[in-house]
């Protein structure tokens, strides 16, 4: 017998609505029709075993997936009310609203810390009247890196430690002022202390940004996210509030995964 569900709290506004999203690498179907609403100003975690399509899923949201040779996708991804796969949408402009942080820290080796932070605005000639020093400081503070690097902004970005480099990449992403930030296992190359710093950071960032984070660290999902989606073999098995997913999953496969029976 199932308990009557509690009356729904006011549903948050949806930033992204995905429906019927399929994706392929060559003939291999990686996503088999995903329907997922992503609320604004929350952290949404995507979990699942390796190869389940979670990275591909977020790469479809800012159309990075199609950059890989032989990769394609179909379905609908609404950002606010615009389908990002509509023919008139320019993926370059889309990516200015939907930023991305990658698995491995990838600061530009040819640039200093300051240049890395400003790269997004400078490359796309959008500095406008903004003061470089202010943009730089704001983004580095948001990424909780300012105090560590404020005296060496002209040092190469690659001279920082792995955890600092990843926060530099987060600052670089935030500096272009996106609405959505996609994070593809941002802590998988970092030690526990650096990971904790980035998780703290996520708590602050969700006030201003819609964040979607792929992780295969289940504790991380419980610590940072409001909602969690569980992916398995290219399908979305279950999507709900993080608390519910981890305390009373509705699907047997979700329960098996979070209790460590496979994965």
């Amino acid at each position: 017998m199932t308990l009557p569900s509690p009356p729904p709290t006011t549903e948050p506004a949806m930033k992204i609505r995905v429906s019927g999203l399929k994706a392929w690498f060559g003939t291999h179907e990686v996503l088999k029709g995903i329907d997922l609403p992503i609320p604004a100003r929350e952290v949404t975690a995507i979990i699942g075993p390796s190869g389940c399509g979670k990275s591909t899923f977020i790469r479809c949201l800012n159309r990075m997936h199609e950059l890989v040779t032989g990769a394609r996708s179909e379905g609908q991804v609404l950002l606010d009310d615009t389908d990002v796969y509509a023919p008139e949408v320019d993926p370059v402009l889309l990516r200015r609203r939907v930023g991305m942080v990658f698995q491995k820290p990838n600061p530009f080796p040819s640039m200093s810390i300051r240049e890395n932070v400003l790269a997004g605005l400078r490359l796309t000639k959008r500095m406008g009247g903004r003061k470089p020093a202010e943009v730089c400081e704001k983004a580095l503070r948001q990424a909780a890196l300012w105090d560590e690097v404020k005296d060496k902004l002209d040092k190469p970005g690659t001279s920082l430690s792995g955890g600092q480099q990843q926060r530099l990449c987060i600052a670089r992403t935030l500096a272009v002022d996106p609405e959505v930030v996609l994070m593809d296992e941002p802590c998988s190359a970092l030690d526990p202390i650096a990971t904790a710093r980035i998780e703290d950071l996520l708590h602050d960032l969700r006030r201003d940004y819609t964040i979607i984070i792929v992780t295969h660290n289940l504790q991380q999902a419980t610590r940072v996210s409001n909602r969690t989606g569980f992916f398995l073999q290219g399908e979305l098995v279950e999507f709900d509030l993080t608390d519910k997913i981890f305390t009373s999953p509705q699907d047997r496969r979700t329960e098996d995964y979070i209790t460590g029976k496979f994965g």
């Binding site: 990075m64 990516r95 991305m100 040819s110 272009v176």
Partner: protein, 294 residues
Amino acid sequence: MKPGPPPIDISGRREGVWFERGFVWVCRVAIVLPLVTLVWLLGGVIARGLGRIDLGFLLDAPSQLDATTGGIWPALMGSLWLIVITAAVSLPVGVGAALYLEEYGKRTRLGTVVEIAIANLAGVPSIIYGMLGLGLFVRWMALGETVIAGALTLALLVLPVVIMSSREALRTVKDSLREAALGLGATRWQTTRHVVLPMAIPGILTGAILAISRAIGETAPLVVVGAVAFILYAPDGLDAEYTALPMQIFQWTSNPRREFLTNAAAGIVVLMFTLFLLNSIAILLRNRFQKRMY
């Protein structure tokens, strides 16, 4: 006492020691032998030619009559004209082609065909390029037997080398950096210009060094497209008659009077020095760019 094989005696002799030592010696000989040959050849040429080089040798026109007077001014200037134009034509076109193939072109079957074709073109004998230059530039475009026709022929000759080495350099730039820039909302061109090219420039310059070095030593295609063997004046424009250092050297070595061989040796020294100078400039440039890379 745990069962299993007896412990390995670490003070014993492992297998294959003698083979390995022998192999290392073969490698050493393989390094020393060509070096000795090179030093012997260059040493001979320098010993014979260096004494002949003075300001007059560099700045005078050659003499058919007297081997002890005259110089290589027209050939030296001819070679410089050829090299500058060849570089100015082949580098932008070659790097552009490489950028298109690596950064813009989709990986298709046609792309593979183009790739194989370029690799094969790099191996085509230079005399064939001479024939192409004769047909295309000298006759069809009616440029005549001029500096520009010679330089364009050399540009065609080195183009595959420039394209291949530039592509190689672009491939060493990690895809994660391209993704980082594209993820920030940069266009392909912005990504290429500000992220990929700065990292690939040292490699591209290395390729340019190789290409230019090849062009400056070429003789065969120049013979076909009509560089003259004997000329008293340096080129004064794109449509001038010209000769080049290797042509002048060849002319001297084939002269029946043996005293001209000294001139040939001196000419070789000048050619080697010019090559050395050009390469040094390119290496300096490369190091400057590399320093900026951290």
